[in-house]
Amino acid sequence: MFRAIRPTSTLYRASALYKNAAVSSPARVSMAMNFARMYSAGAGLARSDVEKRVLDILAGFNKVDAKKISLKANFNADLGLDSLDTVEVVMAIEEEFSIEIPDKDADEIKSAEQAVEYISKRDDAH
């Protein structure tokens, strides 16, 4: 007796499941798409943002005259920083943008503009 009833009940349930599945499948697809994040997409820094942050770093140095700070200003000739101070400026930039600048590149950075130029070339800066 029970066996006679069972097939109908499973049939009913199966159809119910099917119905639900049909209704919920679009929602499921969109959910799956939401979970697929594009990790590889680089954020990219806006140039104006980089410029502002580099100039802020310079402003943080007591030796630097705030009025003389500009993108074009040479660390040595215009801002009066010696080579040791320049090393510290470059290190502060490394810290700010979470990058490591190799020695030979660090020696090339002699103005805020060159620093901005270098950072915009580095994809891992943020």
């Binding site: 140095f61 080579s83 040791l84 090393v87 470059v90 290190m91 020695d103």
Partner: protein, 95 residues
């Protein structure tokens, strides 16, 4: 700094000393190492005697080995931060 070679050598030494000094986990050692490095290099900035420069570089390299070793140990046993330390303190900017 007599020759361009020793000049870039000194700057590289300065960079790595500051780099490793700022890695001490303990505030007091970190602050001391950074300050000591900075003061010593600025004090010897005008040195002209090549022999003296060479001995200073040799001394700095010895110190660098110590700083590397000790900052690593400091990181292994890093304890709690002091009250004066804030989360985003930029130690290299202050001078």
């Amino acid at each position: 700094m007599a020759t361009p070679a020793s000049r870039s050598q000194v700057l590289a030494l300065y960079r790595s000393l500051l780099h490793h000094s700022s890695k001490f986990a303990a505030y007091n050692f970190r602050d001391y190492a950074v300050r000591r490095t900075r003061d010593a290099f600025h004090a010897a900035k005008g040195e002209q005697d090549p022999a003296k420069i060479q001995s200073l570089i040799a001394h700095g390299e010895k110190q660098l080995e110590i700083v590397k070793r000790q900052s690593l140990i400091s990181q292994l046993y890093g304890g709690e931060k002091l009250v004066v330390e804030t989360k985003h303190q930029k130690i290299l900017r202050r001078h």
